[in-house]
């Protein structure tokens, strides 16, 4: 068993309205960053996971996302594992 760092990115599904991202976009525009086309706001989680292999750590992370960390109705996620 060794420790892996798992980084998980959870984003609101592209088809769904993201009012938080829109509000950030408006704030950027009012700061003069008028060239910002769109903003989407999500979550970034960093986990330390004990696993035998990198693949096992990734599989565990996906299970965690499916069960708790992401809502399958509204969110998509991506996981990346580093030693």
């Amino acid at each position: 068993m060794s420790a892996y760092t798992v980084e998980i990115r959870v984003m609101p599904r592209a088809a769904l309205l993201d009012p938080q991202g829109q509000a950030v976009q408006h704030a950027l525009h009012s700061l003069g960053f008028g060239d910002v086309g769109s903003v989407r706001a999500g979550k970034h989680l960093v986990l330390q996971v004990q696993a035998a292999t990198r693949e096992e750590a990734a599989a565990k992370a996906r299970t965690m996302c499916d069960r708790l960390l992401a809502n399958p109705v509204t969110e998509d996620y991506e996981c990346s594992v580093s030693p």
């Binding site: 609101p12 769904l16 309205l17 009012p19 938080q20 509000a23 708790l68 960390l69 809502n71 109705v73 509204t74």
Partner: protein
């Protein structure tokens, strides 16, 4: 007299009002702590409003794994009435006992004010004392109240008359199809964003919410309909 369990999570804040409203309707209401695994022979379960576990991660996402939710899920699967109000609605969606999910209000602001809603079905244990099409004034108090469901799910909800309450005159949070409340296919699990427990007496400005709780007490009168549903097994589906 119905035995009504009001579940208390860390961060629930409408539990006392909900208990009072159920008692005012004549029910024998009592609290069940989120760590309890026994609903103490409840006829019905209510998940009250509030901010369980500080709304961390997503509203209702952590509460969904409370020990008590196993008992609530078993109660629901057996056809027992379950009502989720506001945060309770969010928990029922996270638990998969109701379809869809609740997201941040379209204009981000937390909204705390009365709204107009229409009763879209009287065929649930919590709305049988209302007439279909009746309009009510009920308070909302939520930041994550925008009900979302994909197009096939929304179409199914419409086709099966699973939309319980719908916003009229204005949609405060941008919800799909102006939805303010839904039920499962078995019709025994109901989730609503407005707070009927905050408008169940004239001293609170109106009593449009009182019949949500009185409906439970009237349930004996509709027991036959419940048995019919149990026969064709629909109550087992979510």
């Amino acid at each position: 007299m119905q035995r009504v369990a009001v579940v208390v999570f860390p961060g629930s804040n409408c539990d006392a009002d909900t208990l009072d409203a159920a008692r005012a309707a004549g029910s024998e209401a009592y609290y069940v702590w989120h760590r309890d695994t026994d609903l103490k022979q409840a006829d019905a379960v209510i998940l009250p409003g509030g901010f369980s576990y500080g709304d961390y991660l997503r509203s209702g996402a952590i509460a969904r794994f409370s020990p008590v939710l196993r008992a609530v899920t078993a109660h629901a699967r057996a056809g027992g009435p379950v009502l989720g109000i506001c945060n309770g609605f969010q928990i029922l969606c996270e638990a998969g006992l109701l379809p869809g999910a609740l997201m941040r209000n379209i204009r981000l602001k937390f909204l705390s004010r009365p709204v107009r809603v229409r009763v879209e079905t009287a065929d649930t244990p919590f709305t049988n004392r209302y007439e279909r099409g009746e309009e009510l004034t009920l308070p909302i108090a939520h930041g994550d109240g925008r009900y979302v469901a994909d197009a096939p799910t929304a179409a199914e909800l419409e086709a099966n008359a699973q939309i319980v309450l719908r916003y009229v005159t204005e949609n405060p949070n941008g919800s799909t199809h102006d939805i303010a409340g839904v039920c499962n296919a078995g019709r025994n699990v109901v989730g609503i964003m407005p707070h009927p427990e905050r408008r169940n007496a004239l001293v609170l400005g109106g009593q449009d919410g009182a019949r949500v709780f009185l409906s439970l007490e009237a349930r004996n009168a509709t027991q036959h309909a419940g048995d019919m549903r149990a026969v064709d097994g629909r109550h087992l589906r979510v």
